[in-house]
Subunit: 566 residues, 2 copies
């Protein structure tokens, strides 16, 4: 090995630069080169939707330091002592010779560079649907700076009036909001029954309702069959059920695939998820080659299974570990992910950490309990905003497996709290008396997360029998005659109500009207209110008076995802 | 014991009602009575400052349910099946007879009630300074609904122009903001060298600077000696150093004492903190008597020592445990507190969880490491706002002992994250790759908390030698000639600078100007920048070139608590 260690990093967006920068800080003497195919470096891809939507206008903000310096090759050279070669593609890795063949995309010139350690950070590529018309003008993704420029131009041009977003995931939804902000008429098309698959259906449906309320159209359960065009330009999308939607723009956001061609051609192992196989040191099957970011697969710390988790925060953290290990030998680890993610959806946020109920069941975890909680994030006098959460725990141990949260309230803090609880492998009992920062401008006296744990505790102890809105709806649709109590006040009932055959039975009146309850103490009674706090109290009253099959419809009116009578 | 268990709760604000409500849910049959001295019930005391400040105008919002029902005796009776007797004082507990003597404060009538279980939730009383003039008109506390009414009237009256707030703790600062909002000229007077003693000095000073910037006066290191008056009305306060400050209103907020007279007279044990002694079941030294809230002392889970932790969230959680145990026998525990608290300070928030450096040292924990981090909470393009955090860990194990955070950014989430980490007894290494909810509207790609852990890791591994602003200032004041590098860009230096003899040495220029560095490789060099990220990188460069005593001034310009040249 020569005196100056030669480190080459392939990929110059998040994981690559982070690895290079960390390597530099640990070895001032090393020769560090970033090979970047794209014209820019250090792109905050996660910011594209906000640039496209006009939240800010200066493109440089996507590629600059917090103090406004653009991270271009000159910056990398001067501030970091790193040679960053943009518009340069890595073509072939020769693992025997420990060399990398690169091509300057401007001049076409090829060159072979020698490395001691190589770090692969080639990211992910957007999936394209294998359907007719996909090559038409007017079809884009939102994955690269070029895509962002293209869509921003469309926004600024104010020519296009109708667009379709194909895919209702995080990027699809963010793109929907961005284009909607630009005054474009949007339809989101999702093949699955719901948006944002990291959520369980009933929470995703609340998000969908919000997206619709903001004026965007949403079509679920319906994939795209064909792009239709005239003179090479998109004119409409055709759905699998035959519907044609006229539009001049389609943004495809149906997911990403790890970009591993280069690595695979060099014989590096790829896992079942399609991501590069790395150990906890971010080392590939070749000890001289590390990898990080969207091109690798990671361990899900809850299931122990490998997943593809294409998140910007993880790309940075993995890059940091890879950079250190490439310089110092395997010193630090990236143990894995609990797949915590969040996205803004107009005035809502929606996110998940750990396993959804769906994901838990898919992973074979069936002995689980779930609960839905709804409450404001802060007191009414501080203008608290709604949060709806769903918690998933292991039944036997109470161990927290996952939490989801949606709503206009402070979703991000809720998810951060649960992410920490899951990371630390806490059980519900350890959340019951959590000591969080309480003051009225920031939370309720019993924080929403703690209340959610209380609800779960009540369920696990058999003090609250829950029933989900989905189950109630199923029963109704099956024609079951249900005995349902709405435990709110008459004024509330007048203003807004489900209209599912419920009887108004204000909590405060219940003890005096027990004679109106079913004579059969085993009869099923379903209680709810605005958030089902009073519904729960009503259920406790009825149970106290001998009724044995009283259920609380979790989350109440606020979590009801179906149309209401009023 | 009679068939219907008789439970009496003394105190009707937070802990008491919570205990009563929980008891009711677990025993529909019990006889549950709340004895409340004050005229109101269920007061959200923590909301008083916002009512006084005019954030909202409807007094009922302080005492109502989330859906707007006032929690008065009628509400308690109907919704909770609880008899709540307001303006009724508990006078004497007869533990032998298991009775409570009460007095109706309106009629003066006394009555003796029998109990099976008693729950004491008498809260805390504001401390009053034992100085002349304390009985003058125009001196108040902000502890009761009556106080809130009094101060709100003053706000609405717009007569008073000058006020003093005695005490710079949480309630003092919140009161300062409230009165300042009312257009009153405010001076906060604090005997100690800093505001908000749950913070270490250097963070408290940043808060103080902000309070001053908002137009309030702050006097520290100076207690109050006397209240001066004319015709029985306050006209000025006199400080220990002789200064007289004219004012028509003084709000005393110098802390609270557990209200334990009643319990003490009944022979219940009181701890060294002055709070009622309870075990983890919230049971006093009499097995038939439980206690909760501001009247008890609690275990600090980090030091293992008892503390008085008068927090509204804990009052509720303790009440919930006490209520359950009073009905079911000792079933659930309240294990203790890490003393997490937060308060809004104009456009800042400030809070702490676990131990400050000061508290850790006072508890005999000397083998600790600390670090200060400054960064925006979100990317610049999403209008990120500054956060300044200080982390305290055990040196040997890396175990997280405490975290403080101040600034205009999302302080509350930072504290929630650290509170969970401390609760779960995590070490710094477990925070390095925390998987938090990242998207640009909510955080940086590497969240501020994770970056703070990275900094701490760097210090523990000897890769960053930190020096605090306080130490630098001390050296300067002692006349030491320091070699200080400001690693920002020239434009930044022109706009704002410390003026402590630093040389401008932009990070990007450093590698080319090493000849300007001290010839002595052991010379002390201090680097900093706006937040000391570039300062840290500069230090790595210098260390890479052989300098052995390079320090990073933690938090940089943003954490510098002293006046700047510019
Ligand atoms: C619109 C959008 C919104 C997002 N929002 C979020 C969010 O809110 N939260 C979140 O956590 N994540 C989000 N992400 C994901 C996040 O941006 C990625 O996880 C992150 O960018 C991955 O970084 P990376 O460095 O691994 O790969 P990439 O960012 O994909 O970068 C890989 C780079 O490698 C280069 N490259 C590829 N092959 C070669 C080659 N052969 N030679 C040279 N260079 C090559 C490419 O030019 C590319 O720039 C979002 C992504 C997008 C697109
Ligand atoms: C202005 C202010 C701001 C605050 N801000 C925050 C904050 O942001 N975050 C936070 O966590 N905490 C905050 N707190 C603290 C929080 O309000 C208290 O911790 C909480 O109210 C304690 O509840 P408690 O029920 O134990 O006692 P208290 O609220 O003090 O209630 C005790 C009740 O007992 C009654 N009582 C006393 N003696 C008798 C008797 N002999 N007979 C009958 N009744 C009796 C009194 O009438 C009183 O209403 C704040 C407090 C104040 C005053
Ligand atoms: C920024 C980037 C170039 C990485 O470079 P970097 O030099 O590691 O930059 P960072 O700002 O993350 O941190 C620099 C160092 O300063 C440290 N630091 C941060 N704040 C500090 C402070 N206040 N004081 C001292 N040190 C600080 C960090 O811990 C880090 O050091 P370490 O990794 O050795 O612990 C790379 O992440 C990138 O290109 N990002 C932009 C794109 C992106 O992240 N996209 C995905 C999300 S949209
Ligand atoms: C509100 C108060 C009366 C307590 O009464 P409470 O009936 O326990 O009220 P809460 O709203 O806290 O909760 C009621 C129950 O509903 C549960 N609940 C909350 N949200 C729910 C939901 N969406 N679905 C089902 N149950 C829910 C709670 O967990 C609790 O049950 P549990 O304790 O048996 O687990 C008492 O705390 C009080 O007076 N507070 C006001 C003053 C105050 O707190 N001051 C200090 C801070 S400023
Ligand atoms: Ca994440
Ligand atoms: Ca707290």
């Amino acid at each position: 090995m020569p005196e100056r260690k030669r480190i080459i990093v392939i990929g110059g967006s998040a994981a690559g630069p982070k690895a290079a920068a960390k390597a530099r800080r640990l070895d001032e003497n090393a020769e560090i080169v970033i090979i970047q195919k794209a014209p820019d470096l250090s792109m905050a891809s996660c910011g594209y939707p906000y640039y496209v939507g006009g939240v800010f206008d200066d493109r440089n903000m996507l590629i600059c330091t917090p103090t406004g310096e653009v991270r271009d090759p000159k910056f990398y050279l001067k501030a970091k002592g790193i040679v960053a070669r943009t518009e340069t593609e890595a073509l072939r890795i020769d693992r025997q010779a420990k060399t990398l063949l690169i091509r300057d995309l401007k001049s076409g010139a090829e060159e072979t560079l020698a490395y001691d350690k190589l770090i692969i950070a080639t990211g992910a590529l957007p999936k394209k649907p294998p359907i007719p018309g996909v090559e038409l003008d007017g079809i884009s993704t939102l994955q690269s700076m070029g895509d962002a420029d293209y869509l921003r131009d469309i926004r600024d041009g104010r020519q296009i009036t109708k667009a379709a977003v194909i895919g209702g995931g995080l990027i699809g939804i963010e793109t929907c909001e961005a284009l909607q902000l630009a005054g474009i008429d949007i339809t989101v098309i999702e093949m699955l029954p719901q948006l944002l698959t990291f959520l369980d259906w009933e929470l995703a449906k609340l998000v969908e309702n919000h997206v619709r309320a903001k004026g965007a159209n949403v079509i679920t359960d319906n994939g795209i069959a064909e792009f239709l065009g005239e003179n090479g330009r998109l004119t409409a999308v055709k759905l699998q059920n035959g519907t044609e939607l006229p539009c001049e723009l389609a943004v495809v956001a149906i997911g990403v695939t790890p970009n591993v061609r280069l690595a695979q051609e060099a014989g590096l192992e790829v896992g079942a998820t399609g991501g590069l196989l790395v150990n906890e040191y971010m080392q590939t099957s070749d000890p001289n080659i590390y990898a990080a970011g969207d091109c690798v697969e990671a361990l899900n710390l809850i299931t122990g299974k490998k997943v593809h988790a294409p998140y910007g925060d993880l790309a940075n953290l993995q890059g940091r570990a890879a950079g250190e290990n490439a310089v110092l030998g395997n010193a630090v680890t990236f143990p894995g992910t609990i797949q915590t993610g969040i996205c803004k959806v107009f005035d809502f946020a929606a996110g998940s950490t750990g396993l959804s109920e769906k994901a838990a069941r898919a992973a074979g975890l069936t002995e689980i309990e779930t609960v839905i909680n709804a409450s404001p994030d802060k007191p009414g006098f501080m203008e608290g905003k709604l949060l709806v959460s769903k918690l998933v725990v292991e039944k036997s141990s109470g161990r927290i497996l996952g939490a989801q949260c949606v709503g206009p309230g402070d979703v991000s803090k809720q998810l951060a709290i649960w992410a920490m609880a899951i990371k630390a492998r806490l059980g519900v009992e350890e959340m019951i008396n959590a000591d969080l920062p309480y003051a009225p401008p920031f939370s309720l006296a019993i924080d929403h997360s703690i209340a959610t744990a209380h609800l779960m505790q009540n369920k696990l102890k058999g003090r609250m029998r829950g029933i989900s809105c989905v189950e109630v709806k199923k029963k109704l649709d099956a024609g079951e005659r249900l005995f349902i109590l709405d435990n709110r006040a008459p004024e509330e009932f007048d203003q807004m109500r489900l209209g599912i055959g419920e009887r108004l039975m204000p909590l405060g009146a219940l003890r005096g009207r027990l004679n109106e309850m079913p004579a059969d103490k085993n009869a099923e009674i379903i209680c709810f209110c605005k958030i089902s706090l009073r519904g729960y109290e009503a259920a406790r009253v009825l149970e106290g008076h001998g009724w044995k099959n009283v259920k609380v419809m979790e989350g109440g009116v606020m979590a009801w995802p179906y149309p209401r009578e009023k």
